[in-house]
């Protein structure tokens, strides 16, 4: 089943989230980890890019990384699912391939 993409950098620091969204094939999934979780916040700079991409891609965010950064789940863009490390492992096994956008 499709591809899992991980993004670990803040969209206001680097271009990885945008490149990932540009090149991820529809039907795939994107998991935001580490500083990538800032891309999941409502009302932040690239929030529209993420919202628009959600028609073709499923978005996930790593909960422990959100908590570490003091981001409560009610600040997350609607439709992004929060997963823990077990959920990360499940996403990897449910998708055929994982691509890390470094």
């Amino acid at each position: 089943m499709a591809m899992l993409h991980t993004v670990n950098k803040s969209p206001t620091d680097r271009n990885t989230l945008e490149s990932c969204i540009r090149l991820a094939k529809k039907g795939g999934s994107v998991l935001l980890i580490e500083d990538g979780v800032y891309g999941a916040i409502k009302g932040a700079a690239k929030a529209d890019t993420v919202s628009n991409a959600m028609s073709g891609l499923s978005f996930y965010v790593l909960g422990p990384d959100l908590k570490a950064r003091g981001i409560s789940e009610d600040k997350i863009i609607d439709g992004i699912k929060v997963v823990d490390y077990n959920g990360f492992v499940d996403l990897v096994s449910e998708h055929d391939t994982t691509q890390s956008w470094l």
Binding site: T6, N8, I33, E34, D35, P64, D65, D84, Y85, N86, F88, V89, D90, V92, S93, T97, T98, S100, L102
Partner: protein, 130 residues
């Protein structure tokens, strides 16, 4: 499922090693097999026993060594990357005329072919980096 993990950054400076550790631990606890953990680029710096992190923080090198012992993990440090960065085992020390070594328990130094093999043999390869 058979998974492999690649780690491209050293401990502490980037979150890569932390995230990879939590991921690997979760995968093992869920019953997956970890075929190999491959340390590349600055990731080789996870394999030195000379670190002494502050007492109130995690000791990443020890965490990896302990996880490897508990689950019989194959943790490979890339030889070419290690030579550039000064990670040395007894064999490498002899070969390159070094007067000591710093490899941590559970890590072994080997070639990049081990990464390709991990890609071929594993159902999934997950890369953690900068």
């Amino acid at each position: 499922m058979k998974l492999s993990v690649q780690i491209n950054e050293g401990p502490y400076t980037h979150a890569a090693s932390d995230t990879a550790y939590q991921f690997t631990k979760a995968a093992l606890e869920k019953g997956h097999e970890i075929f190999r953990v491959f340390f590349y680029h600055d990731g080789v710096n996870n394999g030195t026993r000379f670190t002494t992190p502050p007492q109130d923080d995690r000791n990443l090198v020890n965490l990896w060594s302990e996880l490897a012992e508990k689950h019989n993990l194959d943790m490979v440090v890339c030889v070419a990357a290690a030579q550039r960065r000064g990670i040395v085992d007894p064999d490498e020390a002899k070969r390159n005329g070094k007067d000591g070594n710093n490899i941590a328990p559970g890590f072994r130094i080997s070639g990049l072919g081990q990464l390709i093999e991990a890609g071929i043999q594993s159902d999934r390869l997950v890369v953690f980096g900068d």
